[in-house]
Symmetry: D2
Subunit: 344 residues, 4 copies
């Protein structure tokens, strides 16, 4: 019990807080250090409720993270920071689970367009394993660098991949409207995300430009063998946590509703964190503060289209929870380890 | 001034309240009676702030509405009630603006499937004029029975019709994800719409089955000459008022972003209530409590798709405001009459 | 482990749901039956995430609860139901923790005024032990009938009792303004608690008439020896969970801020669930989904008054969590048993 | 019509936006200039819906406000800015309505303690007229410098002043718990007021230290002849607009509920913006976006206390609306001028 030391870097953001909570209670992990410039010097127990001895840990400055002493590091840092930090940690033998986008795109050439920087760590990028266990579990075992999926990418790829793979839907012309709670924007002082601006409002943003687009396409393509360009529209909605992705697909000729459902059924049989439901039962409320994904499917034969809806908590299955699940997979542990107490 | 008498039937629902406010301040209208079982006997001024003399009107029982004494009646009643009441009022020479779906679908044979009842007033249905002035203004002049569009149908048809008409997008494979505030569900005692169930939640509902679907297709087809079946997914989001419709369309071969924008520009030049904006500036917050529609367009050439976003207030441009605008058009008045004071 | 069988009666209300979650994970308890008319026949795992074997329990009708087979029963039922049910269960040797107000007021003669019914179970009322461990722990040991405090009463009495006991504040003229999230009204279909009515609104209710008033006064008087009548004003605020009670007290002559803080310090030293903070750090957000109470004190020497603020989760420390804590105390277990995993 | 030119300084804050809307539609005013550093150079019509010609005004930099060309200036600026600017404008003959606290406290010696600065404009302070027409109308006529009350001060003083004046309540030991929507904190980029931090939270702040405290006491004392120190606790609640103030008062010996109600009735008879209601009918929702104050009174004879609740919109009756009302009074116009179209 608690044999593996772990550090959380970027511990004061919303994902970092969730990671801290999870790491402090994971039966195989021992949380030994926390890094956050914002809270440097403070005791963790003053910032969030934690069991001892984690509660008495003190936050260290981010600048010291490269020298951290732990077997495993979770990086909940901006992509540019992770890109610098991960190679240093890996070189020192630290196993890294990175929650940023720094190691998500196999084709490093995509980074300038979607992330605004050139990727300077091609070797690490080649070694990184994408941490979406339900779709690519086999690649995770033993991984030294796990690249944790984006929140929208998780919700969307879980919905799309088995359907595209089945050939029952067209692989192009896919349109996704995804809605996220405000914590998806991260923790920051910004008028745009102030209560008065967000409450009672609703809007789309980054239409066709969101950095999770190439990630979704890559995952679907890797899992299903093909995927056309996806039209992806994220929306900001006035709730704190949760994502709902509504994916519209054109049915392939002759595809029947039952076949699509069966494709999901095959893909997710036995998965502890995926639950298939009637689409009108898929609700953000039921997945918030859990590592579950709820999926539902409606086939509109009149319109020749299918709609897949997918709900997750952006901070758990879309970030910290999935990071723990992927670490569990990398270490060869039960993937529910440390996550089974989350129950809404 | 105030020469035309008007009644509001169904005055205690959310749309009825807005109608009451607007009718009481419209320079050509004189509000003379209000019908609501819930508030029967109470003074209107005790329920909402109104100028005199409207404030001293008392609500009458719905059962008395068939005998109402007014030149014009707004019906904010369920479709089944409107279906019974409108013919009686028309027969007595009352001009009717109906906010329900009872007279929206030209093809009466669609009612059983989408509304759950057979339509028993074919003559009135044939005479009804659909009240979406920006798309079908010419038909409204002199109308005796105005059928006011549905809230989702207004937001969606305004976005789609000019694009489909232009031939720059495919007329089939259209996918719409629309999000509505909770007032769209009407005013009722229901656990489903209780604060604790709705707040911090997000879900899709009536996938492929919403009664506004045939209405949208009919409007687009009438305006644009064609429209394939639309995949329409409404969502319930935790805000009180407002609709955002995100419409995904496949570009026709060779279509350019500027051409699509020009199609909207032509359609809405000079329209006082339509504003074309960059899509990320289209926000529910800016249209709530106004009769405006804000529209924005993003062309994703990589994906070969266009996304049109459209925002309205479901209770104003999606209900009471548009009803006033359509009445203005029917009477030959300036369409902004009685609406120009709404300003957010 | 899991040696003591337990039933939850009234399992589909908000408190009942929390009790079900807690009972299913408590190390000494084995959840064996659930009663709810609303969900009769359904599996618990379809309604909320639960570990096996609790997840496969099916809800039974409330009418069958009198014959329940368990060592312990939690009653999350209306006071009138508890008043009938508790004596039957006690007679059969079942230990009862009642979350209603049915057994809270020692003076049975107060029931008609505050609860609207005459109390017909005086023997059980005399035997009941009020379950606020921090104030009256000694009375709980071995209790057969635990009467769980009201949510407002918990928040308020925790703040007031040590201060009144200290003599540093006047025992009369106490004014409490308490604010509650909407789940405090219970789970019901009601227009008053619909999202559209509650969101963006704020109001006081039951001024001077709330049934927790005599309960607060009784608790303070029992703990502190004296308590004048309290002016108590509850408010409904647009959030789902949580209570903040702001208590204004007149300082006794010569009382100093440090003395008041010391009185709290003495009362709550070593309490696992009470945390004393600067008053501006007391926030509902930090106690939601935990069994903690956060208390803060401001002394306004200019005005000769003290203000004590107290925050709890109305469904946990104000209901289900405290019920478990009180059961733990009654059974002689560590009071944190089954509650230590709640951590926000 | 529109004969008097007016400028709004600080036009991009929440109060400034409301002032701009009101000034642009006021029948006696002609809005001629707007000052905001944030939006300098932009057209007003791009920021909010305005009628022509106001919509084509462009925002100027704040630094140019001292030279503004208008008969009247509304200052929606921080107290320090108003303190500098108002004397310059007054010296140039501009009539000033200041919405900050810079000229609210007759006793300039109170500024260091409550506002953190020494007051350097004693002559203007002596000339300023406090703009709460319902309590001090006579002083406003002809005022050159109107000092607009604070939002909390307005809600609280309206409730307290007539009661204290009547002698039916004790003038000391008054405790006020006031709750404000988030717009009360102004428009700023701050993590503290971000949606994720505020939503679903509830807390008290500035206990006993809020700068509206001396203002409330001064107003009550001026109107009622006496007022003890008030214990005032503001709370931040998750809504955008609105204030509810709950004031607890000790009844004087022999005071009866009807007498207190009569005191309010006498004070507010004929007031167009004050409405007396049963206390449980006083709701923020009914006053938002209006210039009204709703007041309700509960007398708890058991506790020997009275509770007065008061609701206003912090941005209208608590800021911009009252500023217009006070200007109307200063100019000798009907106080409802420019405000009668606000109707919720």
């Amino acid at each position: 019990m608690h044999d593996h030391t772990v550090a959380v870097v970027g511990a004061s953001g919303y994902s970092g807080l969730e990671l801290t909570r999870l790491a402090a209670r994971h039966p195989e992990l021992r949380l030994v250090s926390l890094f956050s410039d914002r809270w440097a010097g403070e005791a963790a127990g003053d910032r969030l409720p934690l069991p001892a001895p984690a509660s008495s840990l003190r936050y260290s400055a981010l600048a010291d993270a490269a020298g951290l002493q732990a077997e495993i590091a979770f990086l909940a840092t901006p992509a540019e920071v992770s890109l610098e930090l991960a190679p240093k940690l890996l070189a020192r033998g630290v196993r890294v689970v990175d929650l940023s986008g720094a190691f998500r795109l196999e084709d490093g050439g995509l980074y300038p367009r979607w992330y605004g920087f050139a990727h300077g760590a091609p070797a690490e990028l080649a070694d990184a394993r994408y941490g979406l266990p339900e779709l690519e579990r086999a690649r995770l075992r033993g991984a030294r660098l796990v690249s944790n999926p984006g929140c929208y990418a998780t919700a969307t790829a879980l919905a799309l991949a088995p359907l595209v793979k089945s050939g029952l839907v067209e692989a192009d012309g896919i349109a996704v409207a995804a809605m996220s709670g405000v914590s998806g924007a991260g923790r920051k002082a910004s008028e745009d995300y102030s209560f008065c601006e967000v409450d009672e409002d609703l809007r789309a943003y980054r239409l066709g430009r969101h950095q999770h687009v190439p990630e979704i396409e890559q995952t679907v393509r890797r899992f299903a063998g093909r995927c056309g360009p996806i039209s992806f529209v994220p929306h900001l909605v006035p709730l704190r946590r949760g994502i709902l992705a509504t994916c519209s697909l054109r049915l392939a000729r002759g595809a029947a509703a039952a076949d699509l459902a069966a494709a999901w059924g095959r893909a997710y049989a036995g998965e502890p964190f995926v639950r298939l439901l009637p689409p009108e039962k898929v609700a953000v409320k039921d997945v918030v503060r859990t590592n579950r994904a709820h999926l539902g499917l409606a086939v509109d034969e009149r319109a020749g289209m299918a709609v897949a809806v997918s709900a997750i908590d952006n901070l758990v299955k879309g970030a910290a929870g999935q990071a723990v699940q992927a670490l569990d997979a990398a270490m060869g542990w039960d993937e529910a380890l440390g996550l089974d107490l989350l129950g809404g």
